[in-house]
Amino acid sequence: MKIKLNKHWPLARKRILLTIMRTFIFLLCTTVFSLSPTSSFSQRKIKIKTERVVSVNEVFNIIEQQTDYRFIYPQDLFTNASKIQLRKGKIKITNLLKSCLLGSKLDFKLSDKNIIEIVEHKKIKQTPSQKELQKFTVKGTVNDSNGQPLPGANVLEKDSTNGAQTDFDGNFSLTVSDENATLVVSYIGFLTQEVALSGKTSLVITLQEDAAKLDEIVLVGYGSVRKGDVSTSVGVVNADELADQLTTGFDQAMTGKVAGVQVLQTSGSPGGNISIRVRGTASISAGNDPLYVIDGVPLSNDTKFAGGKTSQYETPTNPLNSINTNDIESIQILKDAAATAIYGSRGSNGVVLITTKKGKSGKLKVSYNMNVGFQSVTKKIDLLDAYQYSQLTYEARNNTYQDYLNKNSLSGSSSDSNTIRTANGAPAASLIPHQILPYLNGQAGLTNTDWQDEIFRTGLLKSHTLSFSGGSDKVRYFVSGNYLDQEGVVISSGFKKYSTRLNLDVKSGKFHAGLNLTPTYSVTDKVNSEGRYADEGVIALALGYAPIFPVYNPDGTYNFDGNGNKKSWGQYSQSGQLNPVAVANLTQDELSQFNFLGNAFFEYELSEGLTYKLSLGADINNFRRDYYRPSSLERRFQGGPSIPRGYSSTDQFVNWVAENTLSYINQIGEDHDINAVVGYTVQKNRFNSNYLESSNFPNDLVTTLNAGTVTGGGSRTEEYSLLSYLARVQYGFKNKYILSASMRADGSSRFGPNTKWGYFPSVSGAWKVMNESFLEDSNVINDLKLRASYGVTGNFDIGNYSSQGLLGQSNYNSISGLAPITASNEELTWERSFSTNFGLNLGLFNNKVTLEVDHYISNTEDLLLQLPVSTISGFSSSLQNIGRVQNKGWEFLLGFKNHDHDLKWNVNFNIATNKNEVKELGPNNEPIIVRGGAFNFFITRVGDPIGSYYTLKTDGIFETQEELDNSPHFSGAQVGDLKFVDVSGDGAITQGGDASQEDRTITGNYNPDYTFGIGGSLSYKNLDFGFNIQGSQGNEVMNILSRYINNVEGNFNNRTDVLDRWVSPTNTGNGTIYRANRVASGRNGWTSDWHVEDGSYIRLQNVSLGYTFPDDVLEKFKLDRLRISLTGQNLFTITKYSGYNPEVNGRFNTGGLNNTSPGEDYGTYPLAKTISLGLNVSF
């Protein structure tokens, strides 16, 4: 439609006069001080409460309501004018008016007495009469960058009054002067775009959102504020940054994007593990995971070990498996305590708020996403082949034999046969296994198995997502379904997921209600990939298993020659190991999960700005795990068939939450913005589990437990509840100064009767310097904000009944008895973090350059520690609140962006440091020493980070006898063995014992000095390119797997490093690898800094190339959007670390003191690199 100007101008003049008089009288009567200077006028903002389409007249009414400005214009001036789409938020009056008048030949000006006059545009040249024009009609659609149609956008022929407005579906039709006309397309909140027709009659115009985006809304928990008004530290990841990543969990998609948020891929196992650390590790014994809140429902994070564990190193289940990345609208990470204090007792590890996509009013939009990719391991470890292995074994055993001869003053030589060796009384470890003899003789064509190749494969990963969205003014919907199928890169592992979502939103008058439902079913095919070879970890087995053995026997059965005794491998004192392919393929292990996440909310606007909201949510999880270990799989040191064993477990978690909030958002007068919320919430979680195990199955035909004899079982129920009151008020003055304060009171069943309630206050402030008069007109600085905050948060992740004294069975000769097993602690209370944050936001050149800097200091006090107590109390330890840990660090986020030209690009760089330091422990600051795997120790002591590696230290190898004689050493040490450092200086090497003798010392730590990420995107016309790089620096890994695969003993296969081993005083190799010996002299195998490796890395986490089909193609196929993309993930990692994955954290969550033993690598599922093809269609 066209904007027509009213012809009855003279009549209007009378009305103007009347209005002026009325207004004058009104002003005279009501106020004498509301005269606003023009500069204030230009800064005044109008608040739009809801998104809607209104007429120009209505816009003026809104302005009149919110200000004391009055309008002067002919009444029916805008009768036929295009409608205006208003977006929620605030907008400057001047901008709003410009939009209203855009495309008309009208302009506005502020006259005296707060009167806004609508006047004719002076610049507009007289339009030639339409009859003179050649008629040329153009049709088109206006979309946003997501392909959503924009109803009510203005389309204007440049330098004319000729214009039109898009309809409800974003379509417009306009007759212009000629085929070379230029259209000016504008829409509030978006950058105005000029489009040259160049003869085209059909257009699809995509508007880019305004870069400034200062009115973007940020969720802050139980409410939202404008991004510009945020006074705390919040990291944001938007949907477009998550798009086109083929991931099984969105956590991978947010890796490296937010400063201070460490997303660790500790294991590559499908469906397994997530480890997110927000600003370091604050707790020694309680949880360190952030709280996840999805569409307002706080998830329970105790589902991690649902289904039980088959080995102590098994990785937890990813609690976020059920969330489909494609459904996510945005992720916001509340980092500082002032932001998280509104979540009180669950806030001290950060809060991750996830918002899913909602429908937008408009026609039905159908979107289909497909990704198909191939996954393969990121890395293989270089190992000896069968010939090199045999040589190593031979040398190691000869050295053992030589040591024996020397010790017993016997004569003999390496050429002695096993018969002679045995006759000399030499131990089995000095015999030469007959299996290696052909290799030593150099016979060609013998079995030479690469076990890594046998267990790794290229896995197919595919994902399909179909979504429908749309709606009317009142009802909006988003429906999606997702199917994901991942074949693991390790044989016999995989993950399948089926999920659906319904998001519904209904608005009518003052009522607003919504529903989000997400049922998800997933099945994880598990393989025992983590941990020790002795626990049947297939990775450790594949690395250590002798390459001289084949996978299969000639008859097609699995070969178990590397197993222990009876197969004559053990008679030589070789380590019995199971065939890793057999372990992976024969063991059946499946975990299925049904997750139902849903919430419904009801909102009612009680009065202007005052809204009551009731939200009811539930997170229900059912897990089932079935495990069967068949008779065809031998047991270590035993021949087959073995006794089969099976178990089956089910776990159910029901977590419901109800929240009542009353929020008030209003602007009072011109200068006072109030955004307040009060509420109370109740939450309860119930966990039920049961399991059964069977043994003695007659055969492997039926693997369900009914086929065997039930040998054990049990069931268990636990509950917790949380009751909370919360309040927050944010006050803004003149849009320059913001002060925010919040308070939460949490009552939890987990704490003692005297300490059930915890109080978590916070206060924060921001100074929006850019709104000060001295910066107002700056062309350089368009955003400058200083922030400061202080808050108290808690950690309630301590187990359900820790405050209570529990009783345990204390039977006497079969008569049942009960006695206390844990001490009650009625004073047991929350770990509390006291955090200060200072921050700065800077935007330059219309936000083309942005900088965000944060500095924080967080002290976590009242740590929950199991402290030794006087046994006179009847207990030897008791859980108490004692100790303090500090985390402090800097975070920088620097962004560059240019969307002004066809070549659009942006780059973001973030870097974060965190220093973790234990400040206080128990009464005497006694260090906590925890034993990891393989006699590896961790120490948590005052002055150092939590869980530092605590081992002996080495200083090369003994090169000469003289050096050996003059240095403290373990008895039996020889030239060629590791030289340990006498840290205590007492002339002896001692591990354990009292502190004066102790030679263990801190040799590294899992905490990085800093983490960083670089992400960017670049697009030129229809092509787009994106990348994401992340890394960390200064973290060490405790690679105790190298105690096996680098032990130079010849019992396990070894890394090729050992080819450079010490052989003799004249052939010292590279001087770092000690002498081969089946029975290592000098305790070379004791865990030391020899096993500690630098875990710093830099990884190309994601790179993508996309092509969006041009409009004419889309038009032909009646599509809104068609994009194809090629994506690569984890394509390469630069690191010195010798294992698969420098982020490994093998003892992640093993038992109570989980945080005190991080960074151990005992074999882990390698990360996969993925190359995938994506297709995105919407219409």
């Binding site: 109370y680 509950e719 009783l807 204390s810 079969s814 006695a819 109390s873």
Partner: protein, 474 residues
């Protein structure tokens, strides 16, 4: 009030437009009424102390837990085997390199950090706290009055036994006679009121407990404590204190209530538990997981019965085979604790008080009061009863002509009769012969060695050298 109920009310009220004005008030009121009950949840799969200790059955379970403390590895199950079994001259452990340092106890070089000493200390106070829970709480319970007295008496018996062992192991020990929490203990430590009470005070408490126990325990009580056990133990306490007339009198009350089995080996037969000679034994059951124990004095633990003991026996002594070892499934084990049927654990009971012990104690007490040369007098009769059963010839007044000879004969008889039954060390200390007797087997010790050290960890936690000092010499 259950919260979902609260919510329903609210949802209903939502429909009402009045909510606009009263909502805040409603919310506030309802939440208050829902608050503390909602966040008070008891453990479901484990009983809590808060919800327990309410009925007679609960207290029966609690009393069983007291016996369980005796049975545990921190007392008779393992720690005493190393602490009391090795200390004297009836067992030897030469394995100085073992990390558990049991040998150090045998050689009198055990440090205050010795595992078994720490374990025994822990077992002592876990046991006492279990007894104290019963004793402190049971009076307030509504239950059968006589059963209540009996259960309380059982707890007092066990407490007395534990304190009796403790006072003989460490001397002065903290005397805790009422239930106390970790917090109270910590408070006492802070106030420096947690001290080592005098041996005399501890004995006074023991006697008080046993006097209550002997009155309120039944004569027969299965594997649990009886009035006879309380009397016998009280007799032993008196004897240890040197209160000979009291000891003789108290032990006399038991005479005739038990009998010596004709065949000595039958007393220890795992198939003949709780026989007529057993006054009180700590009971085990290898058939139930966790209710048996690892073999005592097993050479798999490097423990051997020394020749000095074996060769001291008269070859005809029917008790000799019971201290000689024979191969079991876990190494050589002496006959007293031999159980061929090893099910990952063995099931021998540990005889704390036997009738022969009662007889010998009474004989000793009578002799200490005054030597009686009458071979038909009580002292000689009691002593000879024991000897005769062991197929030895009875003593006459020409063999034992005076009090001292009689005294030495009793001590020697106890050595043979009660070998490996954790009595020897206490007998040596009680009779003041420890230093001289240990010298006979080449072990030089001093007066300081008569007591064990207080565990180092406990001293560090309590950190009160004046009120809670280490024993001299450690």
């Amino acid at each position: 009030m259950y919260p979902s109920k609260c919510l329903t009310i609210k949802i209903k009220q939502m429909k009402n437009y009045i909510i606009r004005y009263i909502l805040l008030a409603v919310v506030t009121t309802l939440t208050w009424s829902c608050s503390d009950d909602f966040i008070t949840l008891e453990s479901i799969s484990e009983a809590t102390a808060e919800g327990f200790y309410r009925t007679g059955d609960d207290f029966n379970n609690a009393v069983v837990a007291c016996y369980d403390a005796l049975q545990s590895n921190n007392q008779y199950g393992l720690a005493f085997d190393r602490l009391l079994g090795l200390r004297a001259d009836d067992a030897v452990d030469d394995n100085a390199s073992a990390s558990s340092r049991a040998s150090d106890i045998d050689k009198f070089v055990a440090s205050a950090s010795n595992t078994f000493i720490e374990s025994a200390w822990k077992g002592t106070y876990i046991g006492i706290s279990r007894c104290n829970i019963v004793i402190s709480r049971i009076d307030a319970i509504d239950m059968d009055a006589s059963l209540k007295k009996q259960l309380k008496a059982e707890a007092q018996f066990v407490r007395a036994l534990i304190y009796f062992n403790a006072v003989r192991i460490w001397g002065d020990v903290p005397l805790i006679t009422a239930e106390q929490s970790v917090q109270q203990t910590n408070q006492q430590i802070q106030d420096k009121t947690l001290i080592r009470n005098s041996v005399a005070d501890v004995y006074a408490a023991i006697i008080q407990d046993l006097m209550f126990a002997e009155l309120n325990l039944p004569a027969s009580n299965g594997v649990r404590a009886t009035s006879g056990a309380a009397k016998s133990l009280l007799g032993k306490v008196y004897l240890t204190q040197g209160k000979y007339p009291e000891a003789a009198a108290k032990l006399n009350e038991v005479i005739g209530d038990y009998q010596l089995l004709p065949n000595f080996a039958d007393v220890f037969d795992v198939g003949n538990k709780n026989n007529a000679e057993i006054v009180f034994a700590v009971s085990y059951d290898k058939g139930v997981d966790g209710e048996g124990h690892a073999p005592w004095f097993s050479n798999a633990n490097f423990v051997i019965v020394p020749n000095s003991l074996l060769s001291a026996y008269n070859p005809n002594d029917s008790r000799l085979p019971l201290v000689q070892t024979s191969p079991g499934t876990t190494g050589l084990i002496p006959g007293k604790f031999f159980d061929l049927e090893f099910q990952g654990q063995v099931g021998n009971d540990f005889p704390v008080l036997r009738y022969s012990d009662v007889l010998l104690m009474r004989a000793e007490a009578l002799n200490e009061v005054a030597y009686d040369s009458d071979v038909n007098g009580d002292a000689f009769t009691l002593l000879n009863q024991v000897r005769t059963r062991a197929t030895l010839t009875p003593y006459t007044n020409t063999d034992l002509t005076n009090q001292q000879e009689f005294r030495e004969a009793i001590l020697l008889e106890r050595k043979f009769e009660l070998a490996l039954e954790f009595d020897r060390w206490f007998d040596l200390v009680r009779t003041g012969t420890a230093i001289s007797e240990m010298a006979k087997v080449g072990q030089t010790i001093s007066g300081n060695d008569l007591l064990f050290p207080i565990p180092q960890s406990e001293l560090e936690i309590i950190n009160n050298p004046s009120g809670f000092p280490q024993n001299p010499g450690y």
